[in-house]
């Protein structure tokens, strides 16, 4: 030991949280897409909100180990909140509406978290699935408010911050979605490197030991579940604001299941998995569906099967498979690297 030990401790811990070169490249490229693909704003916008939605699931699945087949519940709450706020002119400014929609989803997340905390993975899958189904049924029942199967009609979105009007090509919409994604990503990154974020990984690794060092396990899980619901709500609100529609399918089971697929493709537990997965998923969807319009889901299914088979040595293969190198570039398994690896 040459250095004073406790400073060395600090340096090594902080190094794990430092931005890596691959991350700078990733976000510079994301910003560059605005200039590079001017005729692709619609799909890029979809990638942005889907990426945020997947980031939300990664926070609970990849970090806290909470499985969910009903994450569309929060997406749907956010989508309808944003739609109703805009339609009835309650809050016209999109950013403020976005925050309110996120909080609406967070409240539902907090209240339902108590149901989700109980029981095993299997019961969690069932309970989350049931919550999404119940919400969808409620939206259907109160069709005078939600528009039922026709969806909310006549949503117009005011200029962002009163300055930037949504244009026909979707450029402003895309920049808006990408900016929100980036800001919430930075926040999520901060959270996962904090003691709170680390305690989630501890709980996922070993809940028995987590409690035995004084971590209030349930309280921590309830918090992250609520935060993730906020993220999903914002993703849903971005969806409504950028597409000017909200219909019952925001709560659909397909949406929750596709989200799992996104994380299977991108990998969990390093935050970029949801973003990379969302981009690949949307590209696959577009390419394959233009080749064989009827069967694109079959091909996506096939891709999924291949991925699961390749990664099945490990128990968690279905959700942790990702080319290890890519994940490592973004700082996963920093543990194995010496402290000097960071920029």
């Amino acid at each position: 030991m040459t250095a004073i030990p406790h400073e060395a401790m600090g340096r090594q811990l902080v190094a794990a949280a430092r931005w890596r070169p691959a991350e700078w490249v990733f976000w510079l490229f994301a910003a560059a897409t605005v200039l590079l693909f001017p005729d692709r704003y619609l799909i890029l916008t979809e990638v942005a909100w889907l990426g945020l939605f997947a980031l939300s699931l990664d926070l609970i699945l990849g970090y806290a180990g909470i499985v969910s087949l009903g994450h569309a519940a929060f997406f749907g709450i956010g989508a309808y909140s944003a739609g109703l706020l805009a339609k009835h002119g309650l809050i016209n400014e999109p950013v403020l509406a976005l925050v309110v929609a996120g909080f609406a989803a967070a409240v539902v997340g907090f209240l339902t978290s108590f149901l989700v905390m109980r029981g095993s993975d299997l019961t969690r899958l069932m309970v989350t699935l049931a919550i999404a189904l119940v919400l969808r049924e409620l939206a259907n029942r109160f069709s005078d408010i939600t528009g039922g199967f026709d969806g909310l009609q006549g949503i117009t979105v005011a200029p962002v911050l009163g300055l930037f009007e949504f244009d026909l090509f979707g450029k402003v919409g895309y920049i808006y979605c990408l900016s929100v994604l980036f800001l919430l990503f930075v926040l999520a990154r901060r959270i996962v490197h904090s003691p709170f974020g680390l305690s989630l990984r501890a709980i996922r690794n070993n809940p028995l030991r987590a409690a035995a060092i004084g971590i209030p396990v349930n309280r921590r899980l309830i918090w992250i579940y609520t935060v993730a619901a906020f993220y999903a709500g914002v993703a849903g609100a971005l969806f409504t604001q950028s597409s000017a529609i909200a219909s019952l399918d925001v709560f659909a089971f397909d949406r929750s299941a596709d989200l799992m697929l996104v994380l299977v493709i991108g990998g969990t537990g390093y935050l970029y998995g949801g973003l990379i997965g969302a981009a690949i998923f949307k590209l696959l969807q577009q390419e394959v569906s233009s080749l064989t319009p009827q069967y694109w889901q079959f091909w996506i299914g096939l891709v999924l099967v291949v991925i699961v088979l390749l990664g099945r040595q490990r128990i968690e293969s279905a959700v942790t498979f990702v080319p290890r190198r890519i994940a490592r570039l973004f700082g996963k398994e920093i543990a194995a690297l010496p402290g000097g690896e960071a920029p």
Binding site: P5, A16, R190, N205, A211
Partner: protein, 250 residues
């Protein structure tokens, strides 16, 4: 007199099987107390009851005089009761640095902090350094726990318990399964535990028990057979009978 830890008529059943029978155990403050007994006597169950992992079917548990019977696991830890596990319970994907950092953060009340990056608080870092150095973990502090040699993992199991700064520490067979070559470090760590920490040690190795303990309780079939100073227990014919054929060198 208040004891560091006390149970009153503690009971636990698994279905029809009574595993803890009206156990009244008293551990004096500052004691080096050993709990021994044959395999399946219910020693680990007692620790699980004391720490709140299991709920008793009857009886009470007092920590420094106050009733903790109904408290959840993590609250007991914050009140100064900590343990190690017979079978390692560590975080496979975390490093020793993170594992200890987490325990120290929780103890100092920073565990719920979601903004500041771990490693930016000097008080936390200082304690981490102290624990890692004391338990010879500095050289492996940045490696995934799952990849550490078993002896190092066993040391980390004790280190993380100590990092919560317990006033009462429960050790469940700390040397179990440790190869002879790594055994010395574990025994030294146990021997050099801070004197102001009250320790309850479960152990099958009688050399360790008799070199360590100033008081011994003998548990058989979930009930207390006898309790006393080491030389009394060693002379007790009932204890010898229990261990006869067990191959223990008591």
């Amino acid at each position: 007199m208040t004891y560091a830890l006390e149970t009153i008529d503690l009971k636990k059943q698994f279905g029809g099987l009574a595993v803890t029978r009206d156990l009244s155990l008293r551990i004096a403050t500052g004691a080096r107390h050993a709990l021994i007994g044959p395999n399946g006597a219910g020693k680990t169950t007692v620790i699980n009851l004391l720490t709140g992992v299991l709920r008793p079917n009857g009886g009470r548990i007092l920590l420094e005089g106050s009733d903790i019977t109904a408290l959840p696991v993590h609250s007991r830890v914050l009140r100064g009761l900590s343990r190690t596990f017979q079978i390692n319970q560590l975080y496979a994907d975390l490093t020793p640095l993170e594992t200890i950092g987490l325990a120290v953060s929780e103890r100092l009340g920073h565990g719920g902090d979601w903004w500041r990056v771990l490693g930016t608080r000097a008080d936390v870092n200082g304690e981490i350094a102290e624990h890692l150095a004391r338990f010879h973990l500095l050289d492996v502090m940045g490696e995934r726990t799952a990849t550490l040699p078993y002896g190092k993992q066993r040391l980390l199991e004790i280190a993380v318990a100590i990092a919560t700064r317990p006033r009462v520490l429960l050790l469940d067979e700390p040397a179990a399964g440790v190869p002879e070559s790594e055994r010395h470090d574990i025994l030294a760590a146990v021997a050099s535990l801070p004197r102001d920490v009250t320790v309850l040690l479960i152990e099958h190795d009688m050399d360790l028990v008799f070199s360590f303990a100033d008081r011994i309780s003998v548990l058989v079939n979930g009930a207390m057979l006898t309790e006393g100073a080491p030389d009394e227990v060693a002379r007790d014919p009932r204890v010898k009978a229990v261990y006869l054929g067990e191959g223990a060198d008591a």
